[in-house]
């Protein structure tokens, strides 16, 4: 397994280089550049600007600029943000924990809901409960997250007042206290729910269908013929088979949740990577954009690797060599 993982990680390097070229090209294709973020904004003398442009290397051929960027990038220097005038790495480091917290919360909610609903619907297919869950899920699949987000804020924040409508924590509480963490959880529930809605719906239906399919398999009949109880057949024999495809989704989820957070975080004005990404697009903050895009790409690759490794762990028929 270790050997396999190492080989896969080595295999990622050419892929990452290719991605970096694409990211860099796209950034260069966009109008404007990051120059204004690096020079004195009060000095509007065109000569000064031209001098600085030459000095900072913006007039170099593209391949030189690329090599400079990628060398810095590989060493952990993501450049300077145009907007915040500080290091990109420190801006991302500030926002990343919020997004991870949101992502994990969303995953936990997704898995809990999907397992409860999926197992119920799979065990009692074509009943009223199953149809209700199915209807709820198609509803969840059909509603885009920006609509669901706005609606959730309207209903749960404005009308019912159960959850706060924005932010990641109450600014009045002391950091590090229990109250602080409770406030964070309180703030994260609504966006996490909206963020996880799509995957909850698809997981539930997936689990349901897989349980139904597995319940018709021969090994279920064998287990029954041994005198195994119905609940044990479902909770052990069938579920253990049905979680195989589900667990492997976890790897891909890492990506889709952080990617999906772009919209959700913006609606809930939740200070995470997604919101940073969107405001950076609006402000043409190239260095931040490039760093986030590269981070997403890395996550896709890592997510795929995690999915494959998990596959090998949960399914004894698959051996990773």
């Amino acid at each position: 397994m270790l050997k396999y993982s190492l080989r896969r990680i080595l295999g990622m390097i050419p892929m990452l280089i290719l991605i970096s070229i694409v990211v860099f090209t796209l950034a260069k294709l966009m109008p404007g550049d990051a120059l204004s973020g690096e020079i004195d904004p009060t000095n509007t003398n065109p000569e000064y600007i031209e001098n600085m442009r030459e000095k900072l290397g913006y007039n170099d051929p593209y391949y030189k600029q690329y090599i400079r960027w990628i060398t810095d990038f590989a060493q952990g220097d993501f450049g300077k943000s145009v907007r915040y005038k500080t290091k990109v790495s420190s801006i991302i480091a500030e926002k990343l924990p919020n997004t991870i917290f949101l992502g994990v919360a969303s995953l936990v909610i997704t898995y809990i809901l999907a397992f409860i609903m999926g197992i119920y619907a799979g065990r009692k297919p074509y009943t009223l409960g199953d149809h209700a869950i199915g209807g709820f899920n198609y509803f969840g699949l059909a509603i885009p997250s920006f609509v669901a987000g706005v609606f959730a804020i309207y209903l749960f924040s404005f009308k019912l007042g159960w959850f706060p409508s924005n932010g990641s924590v109450d600014i009045m509480v002391q950091e590090g206290t229990l109250e602080y963490w409770l406030s964070r959880i309180h703030h994260v529930i609504l966006p996490a729910l909206v963020l996880g809605m799509l995957s909850t719906a698809s997981y539930t239906q997936f689990l349901r269908n897989d349980i139904i399919e597995n319940s018709r398999k021969d090994f279920v009949r064998t287990a029954k013929a041994k005198g195994t109880s119905q609940s044990k057949i479902y909770n052990v024999h069938i579920l253990r088979n049905s979680i195989i495809p589900l667990v492997t989704f976890l790897g891909f989820d890492i990506v889709s949740i952080i990617g999906g957070a772009v919209i959700t975080e913006t609606i809930f004005t939740y200070p995470g990577i997604g919101q940073l990404f969107l405001t950076s697009v609006q402000a043409r903050d190239y260095s931040v954009l490039m760093a986030i895009t590269m981070m997403f790409s890395c996550l896709v690759l890592v997510g795929n690797l995690v999915a494959d490794i998990l596959y090998g762990i949960v399914d004894p028929r698959i051996r990773l060599e």
């Binding site: 013929a225 041994k226 005198g227 195994t228 109880s229 088979n241």
Partner: protein
């Protein structure tokens, strides 16, 4: 019925009807089957695909899906207790303990994500109080009993690491774990290589003698019947058409269907260009004739009455029972041939 009779009969199936719902209508795949299995006896059930033999065996264990099937009539008396009336919870105590079953497809009958040991020990945990350590020891012992070498290693392996024959041996080990009184084997060798088939049959025979259990062997292979059976039930279209002691039935088949089946076996001592076959197929559940003999369409000896009068299963001598209008005894309500024809 005397108590003595109940003692020798381990299983007594009486007028069993099992049907499937097709378009909300119940169609019987097993239509009025009655037979018994005595203690330590090997009874073979033969018939071609779709004749209801698997449905019958699954009915005895009540393993058919409740969603689309139903035992609509009849009794299944196991040691005098009617299994039809038992709830699923009560049946759980019978399954694997009193009656065990092995299936046709050893490739899919085992759960792919659990070790052999887990699946073998499960049946022990289901029916007895046993420690984990003792269960493991017993599982190894069982694997040894069914002729698996290196059982200490196999016990921790997964089904996909085993060959088809080994998996069927594991299934047999699982089935005999609690010393059942009856083993139902639903085409246990059909999916296996010929050489492995012989080994599995030998194993079943050995175990049957050692464990003193009865076997109900479902098969479409008459070679298997000849090798294993004490008694044979020939099934056609959900009914028993002939039953008798194996030697007698093979020597003097009384039903045209049995005759045709026997003629369809290729023989080593005869040179023929073409293998005998029975024309046509078993009628589907929806197209089952309501009146008359169900085999009439395909029967080489069919005559006028066959499509008009439903034959009964009746004794025709030599411990033979048959369901064919060629025999007077099979006419219902003892009406003679002539009277029926007049009507």
């Amino acid at each position: 019925m005397t108590t003595k009779h109940q003692d020798t009969n381990l299983l007594k199936v009486e007028n069993l009807h099992t049907g499937f719902f097709i378009n909300n209508e119940l169609h019987n795949a097993v239509a009025g089957v009655s037979f018994d299995v005595k203690r330590k006896e090997v009874v073979c059930v033969v018939g071609e695909s779709g004749c209801g033999k698997s449905v019958m065996s699954l009915s005895i264990m009540k393993l058919l899906p409740e969603m689309n099937s139903k035992i609509s009539d009849g009794e299944i008396l196991f040691e005098g207790n009617d299994l039809v009336k038992k709830s699923d919870k009560q049946m759980r105590k019978v399954r694997g303990k009193d009656i065990a079953m092995i299936f046709q497809e050893p490739m899919t009958a085992l759960n792919p994500v659990f070790t052999i040991g887990y699946q073998l020990q499960e049946v022990l945990f289901n029916h007895m109080k046993i420690s984990k350590k003792a269960a493991r020891e017993r599982a190894i012992e069982l694997l040894k009993e069914v002729g698996i070498s290196r059982p200490e290693r196999i016990i921790d392996e997964y089904p996909h690491q085993l060959s088809g024959g080994m998996r069927q041996r594991v299934m047999i080990a699982m089935a005999i774990a609690i010393h059942p009184k009856l083993l139902i084997a639903d085409e246990p060798t059909t999916a296996l290589d010929v050489t492995v088939q012989a080994q599995i049959l030998d194993l079943l025979k050995d175990i049957q003698e050692k464990e003193d259990m009865a076997i109900m062997l479902i098969t479409h292979d008459l070679g298997v019947v000849a090798e294993m059976a004490d008694r044979v039930l020939v099934m056609y279209a959900g009914q028993i058409v002939e039953s008798g002691v194996v030697t007698e039935l093979f020597a003097n088949p009384s039903h045209p269907y049995t005759e045709s089946l026997l003629q369809s076996i290729p023989r080593m001592d005869e040179v023929t260009d073409k293998l005998n076959t029975i024309g046509g197929v078993v009628p589907s559940l929806e197209n089952m004739p309501k009146v008359g003999c169900r085999f009439a369409d395909r029967c080489p000896k069919a005559f006028g009455d066959c499509t008009k009068i439903t034959p009964q299963l009746a004794d025709v001598g030599n411990g033979h029972q048959t369901r064919c209008l060629l025999y007077d005894a099979c006419y219902p309500d003892k009406t003679s041939k002539k009277e029926e024809v007049k009507q």
